[in-house]
Symmetry: C2
Subunit: 251 residues, 2 copies
């Protein structure tokens, strides 16, 4: 399978609106821009979108022809693109699988249009679509939130945003099912005092050390962490990488 | 003052996601695209954004340097751009004036970031910002919704989306204060049986005939009306025009 990062930013994104620091000015020139955190998994002739916060979701559909959408949760920066495409024209509904969350986001579940939210994902209940197995893993966030563990053709990928640390049961699952590739929330700079609902870099690296996946890629990265790296340089353990929008990983 | 249409589409926009009709295929090639319904009013050295549904609001701020934002209402296609910029960096908050609506949209009012929603607009209570007078006019929609009547330097502009017909009090106000320019919701093709919460073309033209403004410009236009025109040709009364994204009108 192949993972492509469609967005690697936090809810504010990079550049940060109104900020004229070097990191943000560079991002405005197209270097280091981070869009709404999302990714596409491709395997065989199928493709699955993870999270739908990008505003240009219609164009992404043209490019990737997603078979279905997985949502980690219903915060705005993970679902904004759905508000537009729901009113589109399709022969059949688009399946959107998220955690059970009665509130959803605004009127999205109430007025679903061509989207079908009826088939929710339940923690640790594996499901197979085409030839891929997907196991939802609960995360620590301010709304019901799931990470997803993909198993395809003997390769394992865990995609875990948005979270502050990991629930014990999720960590146990990952220790028993070590992923080849771990994608993990790393929103804030290290030793961050004001972190809420997301890992800082220390948390993300500690998770990497405990899980010992083949590789770990950091995502859901905020302007503060990019600024920190711009000033300090990036020093990361072996097998840990910083994801950028557009990066592709073959598994 | 100068009005620029930043978007003239309905919630689905043109092109309609998934539709391959001539109108939509042409819009994908850049001709006739309709983005989220919104506009900017410029007067003196000031500028006011009306509605914030475009996803590239940060870039629009760079271009127009809005002094404040007016919201007609809190449906997603009128506020989506705010979910991103609220987490930006600014010396002072951005004033966002909408109707009183406790629900707002998702968690926008609860987590306002750099946006200040505290100063709501009340029907028929005129307010002045810099040298412009703004009178909120109630509209007929499925959420609390206001149109806005602008009076600047002896010129009058009424901007009225989203609405199905007009409340009697709003119509009386406009008959007593005839606008030089009327911008009116014209979402559906004429004689539309399934219309909800928005005018069809007949409704919009009837409003034009009753109010007799200097000019009427149609906006909040859906794919169905554009398709109708593509097939039938556009025949409109004198002084009535179809707005397109990017159109500018000097008053």
């Amino acid at each position: 399978m192949k993972l492509t990062f469609l967005g690697t930013g936090d809810a504010a994104g990079v550049p940060l609106f109104g900020c004229d620091c070097d990191t943000c000015m560079q991002a405005r020139r197209g270097m280091g821009m981070r869009r709404a955190c999302s990714a596409v998994i491709r395997f065989g002739s199928s493709s699955i979108l993870i999270d739908a916060g990008r505003g240009d979701l219609a164009e992404l559909f043209d490019q990737y022809n997603f078979d279905r959408i997985l949502l980690t949760h219903y915060h705005a920066d993970h679902v904004l693109g759905l508000f537009h495409i729901r009113w589109g024209s399709r022969d059949s509904a688009i399946a959107v699988h998220g955690p059970a969350d009665e509130q959803g986001c605004a009127d999205l579940l109430k007025h679903a249009g061509i989207l079908d939210f009826s088939s929710c994902m339940q923690p640790f209940e594996s499901r197979s679509f085409e030839d891929i197995s997907i196991t939802p893993l609960p995360l620590n966030h301010s709304k019901p939130t799931l990470g997803y563990f993909f198993d395809y053709d003997g390769k394992r990928l865990a995609y875990l945003t948005d979270t502050l640390e990991l629930p014990a049961a999720t960590e146990s699952f990952l220790l028993e099912n070590r992923p080849d590739l771990l994608v993990i929330d790393s929103c804030f700079p290290p030793d961050c005092e004001h972190k809420r609902n997301h890992n800082d870099l220390d948390d993300a690296l500690n998770i990497h050390r405990r899980i010992t996946p083949g590789e770990t890629w950091l995502t859901h990265i905020g302007h503060g962490l990019d600024s920190f790296w711009q000033q300090q340089g990036i020093e990361l353990p072996d097998h840990v990488f910083v994801a950028a929008d557009g990066d592709e990983i073959n598994l």
